[in-house]
Structures are given as C-alpha cells and as structure tokens.
Amino acid sequence: MLEIKNLHVSIEEDGTEILKGLNLKVGSGEVHAIMGPNGSGKSTLASVLAGKDGYEVTNGTVAFCGDDLLELAADERAREGLFLAFQYPIELPGVSMSNFLKQAVQSVREHQGKEALTSGALLQMMKEKAALVHLDPALKSRSVNEGFSGGEKKRNEIFQLAMLEPKFAILDETDSGLDIDALRIVADGVNHLRSPERSFLLITHYQRLLDYIVPDFVHVLMNGRIVMTGGKELALELEEKGYDWIKDETTQLA
C-alpha cells in the first residue's frame, strides 16, 4: 500500500536535514507503529506524507498504491485515501463542522466516482460515526475544533477518519495529552475502523497507546532513520529500557 524508499527530507527554510534515508513498507490492512525520541523526525514524516508545505524532499520515493505520492497535492492525497490525524488539530472559526464534513466527504466520494450523499444520509452517517468516539452530535453546528477541549479535538480527528474512510491513516501523536479514558475511546474507535483494506501508521512517543491498538510492526525512528524494526514486543522493551538502549545498540552496529 505504502512504500517509502530512501527518503531524505530537509526543512525548506534553513536546509536542515530531518529525514536521512528512511525506508518503510506498509502492506494492506497492517498496523505499523513508529516510535522514537523527540526530534527524531516522526512528525516530519507525517507532515511530508500528508503534503504539508515547508519541506523539501531531496531524495527518495514514496509510492502509494503504486502511484508517486510526492507528485500529488495535499488535497489530492486526501482524496486518494491518505488521512492524517493532526497532532495539533487546527481551529477554523466560522467553519461549521457540518459544512466542513460535507465538503470533505463529497470531494472524496466524487473522486472515487461515488454518488454524492444526500443531506439526510450524511447526517445519519455523522451521527453514527460520532457515536463511535462518543462525540456530542450537537457538535455539527459548532465551528471546526473551535472551543473543543484537547480530548475533543483528538476524538474529532478520529471521527473525521471514520467519515472519510481512507485507505491509509496516519495518527500523529494522537495519544498525547489524552487521559486514560479518552485514550481508550480513541483506541476503540481506531480498532473499530481496522480492516483488511485499511492500513494505519501510528506515530507515538509512548508505548501506552500500543496497549490498546496492537500493532503488527514497531519501528524505531532515530536521527531521521528507522534503526530497528520488530513486533509489538519491541514497544514493551523500549518502555522498559528507554531509547538510550537502542542508541547503544546502533552505535555498536555502526
């Protein structure tokens, strides 16, 4: 589904290289977790995959369902079925949730050659999906993320994930700032959305999330590269030993 080869990414403004030859392959229906210390390049990876401005890909390729992902604009990627749950969801004062979702869902459906949903059907869908993450259905008249609590914002991201039904979803530190109950709600929502046709990339700093969303693979990202890959046990090992342990391992290897 997604194949990243030797990806090098720099910050456009000052040329600092963040990703230094990253390789990653995610198959259909798989759940991958990327862990790593602060500043290792986790969020940069998420932003680059989603097509955010301000980064320069200096080398490497990203294939998404066989197409060159990097050729596509941010909205085209989204319509192709790539979803990013933002670490810091943006507030859009004056843009109502219902109008926002209508535009997004219909754009994606249109691209997929599906019929536009009727208002009724859309509303029904919103109601169902909102229930999935215990979001108040009254939110549809509120502005996107405006006045939402931290937990509500994160749940709203998963709600949108559910609405847009992407092929590939990146969750960028969705667990950060969540208390245990909210974490469980988010995780339940994600688990519910797992399917053989849908892959996930979980970006996280802590192992905690992985207790609830059990990954197929765990990768450790350090200094712009994946330095170790393992099964779900790797996360536990990291939790126990910290990232320094890997640093030692990798320097020895080097």
Binding site: D75, A78, Q103, A104
Partner: protein, 467 residues
C-alpha cells in the same frame, strides 16, 4: 504619517477649483435671501454651504481622506459630464454657468430588479434618488411616520425643526455639508415614544437617475423606549457613473433600541459617500451593520455620539473589494459621557487591484470615565496588486477606561488551508470556505434570517467568481 517628501508635494497641489461649481450652483438653486424670513431648514442649508465653502473638498493634506481620493474621482466624473442635479429636482439641474461641464446624457430613471429582500416580512419603502417613490406597502402601526421631508414640513413641522441637522457635524466632513446644503427633500422615519415597531422598515434605494449627482437625506427619530429596525438596500443599478452623497441622521432616545443594516451593491462606476450621524440618549442601544459588496469608490463616514450615560453602540462592517474598487470605512465614536460601551468590528476581503481602507477613531473625552471601547479591524488580502490601509486610532482623555484596538492584515491562514486540503477539499473550495467563515462573523450578527441568507448568497457568488 506623511513623510516629508509627500508633504511637500501636497502643498503644490492645493487645487480647490471644484468647490466653486457647487457654491455657485447652490446660489442658483436657492437664490438670494431677499426678506430674511426664510424657513429654518433653508437657513440651515445656507449655513451648510458656507461650512462647505470654508472647508472645501478634501485635498492631499486632508488627513481623513489620506487614502481615499474622492475629490479626484468627483472631478473626473464632473468632467465626464455627470449631472449635478440636486435631489430629485430635475429642473434645477440645468446649469447656468457656462464654465460648467454640460450634461451629456438624459436623466433617465434606472430601476433595479426586485431582490429577495422584497419578500421579507417588513414595511417596504422604495426610493428613487433617495426619495420615497409610490406608496408604502402596507398600513403603518399607529403613530409611526414614514414620509418625505416636504410632507413633514406640512404635517409635522415641529419634528423637522427639532431634529433635522441637529446630529450632523458639518465641519467634520465636506460631503456631509454638501449633502446638507443640496438635499431638497429626504425620508423621515419617526417612532413615537414607547412604540416597538415589530416589522423591519426596509428601504429599497432601487432607482436612480443615471449619471447623476444625487444628494439625499435620511432622518430617523426613535423616541424614548422605542424599538425599530431600519434596513437599507442599495442594490446594483446599471445607472452609469453616479455620485450618491447622502447624509443620514439617527436619534436614539432614552432607552431606545435602533438597529440599522446597510447593504451597498452599486455598480463599479459609482461614487458613494455615506455619512451617518447617530445621536444617542441615555440607556439607548444602537447598532449598525454596514455591508459593502459593490461600488467603485465607497466611503462610509460613520459618526457616533453617545451623548448620555449607559449607552451601547455597536458598529459592524464587512466589505468585499474587487476589481479596482476602493472601499473606505471611516468611523468615529465620540465618547462624551461616562459609563458607555462601544464595540467595533470591521472585516474586509480585498482582491484583484482593489483597495480597502479602515480608519476608526475612538475618542474618549475627559468626562467619559468608565468607558469601555473596543475596536477591531481584520483584512484578508488575496491578490498581488490589492492594497489595504488601516489607521485604527485611540484618543483618550479620561483615565478610568478600558480601551483597545487591534488590526491585522494578511493572507488566508496557511495552516487552516492545509487542514482543509488534508481532508480532501479542493484548494478553491477550501479558500471559499475560509473566506465565508471570515465574513460570517459579521453577517451572523444581523438579526434577520432573510437578510443574512440574502447576504450569504450574494457573498458566495461574489467570492466564487473572485476565488
């Protein structure tokens, strides 16, 4: 602040030639004061032309017209043969002075298509050149007066002499003085004490003489304890390059609640100067929502005098400037008495080669302790070539006050755009959504569904084309 270079240029070009045209025209129109027994109103008009003669049109040194070249526009329109008819009196439009440009065109009335605002629940008034045309749509509640000044002069002379010209400050703006001098008639709305007018009074300024100078007046008197909504619509009219210069005076009596909406959509050759002077008595509430979606050069002079304690004043404004339009909102809230509140929010979207100007002044006089005054101006610039000027001013002479202003100018928020696009929304649609959301803050403050919906619809059309 003018730099020295600009300043020295200003001095060389102090041309005041345009004024004489109007002063002579006025004399032709009114004639000499023969026996000294003229009506109060005529005396007021003479006074107004004198004030105009003293101050003249804004020149390059006029700080309040620093960013808005009204005089230049006016002069070019005069050269192009604009009629300088005063009010509706066509006969007075025949120019006697040979030096004046000869009118080239027939003054034919141009009427606009009925807008959906026609269908809203309300007391509908139609106006040609700022004067009531035909009869009102339905019977008025008891005591409510809506009529021409000329009619009022016969039926309610005391009302006119008590209120007319009492709110306008002629020295503040030459255009206000000019309209006060030339307007031969006007529209009077009088709400007697205690009356709450349920339906909105909707004035459709939906007909003009093409290529004319129109100077009109509006007087709204809301006595103690009243409630009234006045909605004014200046729809698109294919009336060539007209100059509408109007003065509106509003009196909000003790505890009165007056709500005003102005929607301006004239064609792109129109020069439109709107001077609003509001006088507020104790505990009164006044709100205006000035929405500018059209016009060539538009200048709103909005003046507020909360002249007693516990007044509440709200100024809301939205403008979309496209093409080569020049839209200027110039406001003054003159806090003269203690314990008043004012809140001002203006938003603008400026595209193409257009210019957006905001100049808002909050003046707090020495006696106006415990004033709370807020002002905010936000502007989105969409295109290279578009320009914006903002001059939000605070002038404070009392210490126990809370006053603030903020002004921002910039592009659409990049992060917000990215968020929308990351959800699969096309860039153009995303921009439109954000622009509409931006405008909604202002339109959403209007009480009437019909007006809000009308404006959302117009805005959508306007911004879709704009992108």
């Amino acid at each position: 602040m003018p730099s020295g270079v600009e300043m020295s240029m200003e001095l060389k070009e102090q041309s005041r030639s345009g004024e004489d045209v109007f002063i002579e025209r006025f004399e032709d129109l009114i004639g000499p004061n023969t026996n000294g027994s003229e009506s109060e109103w005529t005396l007021n008009r003479r006074n107004a032309i004198q004030v105009f003669a003293q101050n003249g049109f804004p020149n390059k040194k006029s700080e309040s017209y620093k960013y808005t070249p009204v005089t230049k526009w006016l002069q070019s329109q005069l050269k192009n043969g604009m009629h300088t008819a005063a009010g509706s009196s066509v006969q007075s439009g025949n120019l006697k002075n040979e030096a004046l440009p000869t009118p080239l065109l027939d003054e034919s009335e141009v009427r606009g298509e009925p807008s959906s605002l026609e269908n809203m629940k309300g007391l509908h008034v139609h106006a040609t050149n700022g004067l009531i045309r035909g009869s009102l749509s339905e019977a008025l509640p008891t005591g409510l007066i809506i009529c021409s000044f000329k009619q009022a002069l016969v039926d309610h002379p005391k009302l006119l002499s008590e209120y007319l010209t009492k709110a306008v400050v002629l020295e503040r703006d030459p255009f206000a003085a000019l309209a006060s001098a030339f307007a031969e008639d006007g529209i009077l709305i009088f709400v007697p004490a205690g009356l709450e007018v349920e339906k909105a009074i909707v004035i459709h300024h939906d007909a003009l003489f093409s290529n004319s100078l129109i100077q009109a007046r509006l007087l709204v008197v809301a006595e103690e304890g009243t409630k009234v909504n006045v909605i004014e619509h200046f729809p698109f009219l294919d009336a060539g390059s007209s100059f509408e210069n109007r003065v509106a005076e509003v009196f909000a009596g003790k505890g009165a609640r007056v709500d005003h909406v102005l929607v301006m959509e004239r064609n792109d050759q129109t020069l439109f100067v709107n001077s609003l002077f509001v006088h507020q008595d104790a505990n009164s509430f006044f709100r205006t929502n000035t929405v500018t979606l059209g016009g060539g050069l538009v200048r709103h002079n909005l003046n507020f005098l909360p002249d007693a304690e516990e007044c509440e004043t709200h100024l809301h404004g939205l403008y979309v400037a496209k093409g080569t339009a020049h839209v200027d909102n110039h406001t003054l809230v003159d806090h003269a008495k203690p314990n008043c509140f004012s809140n001002e929010i203006f938003k603008g979207i400026v595209t193409n080669q257009a210019v957006g100007v905001f100049n808002g002044k909050v003046l707090v006089r020495q006696d106006a302790q415990k004033t709370n005054a807020y002002q905010s101006s936000k502007c989105i610039v969409l295109d290279r070539g578009a320009r914006t000027y903002a001059k939000p001013e605070l002038e404070i002479y009392a210490d126990d006050v809370k006053c603030s202003h903020g002004a921002t100018t910039g592009e659409l928020d990049e992060d917000a755009l990215f968020y929308l696009r990351a959800r699969g929304i096309h860039p153009d649609a995303a921009k439109l959504m954000l622009l509409e959301a931006f405008a909604k803050d202002i339109i959403g403050l209007i009480d009437f569904d019909e007006v809000r919906n009308y404006l959302y619809q117009r805005l959508h059309g306007l911004l879709t084309v704009t992108k």
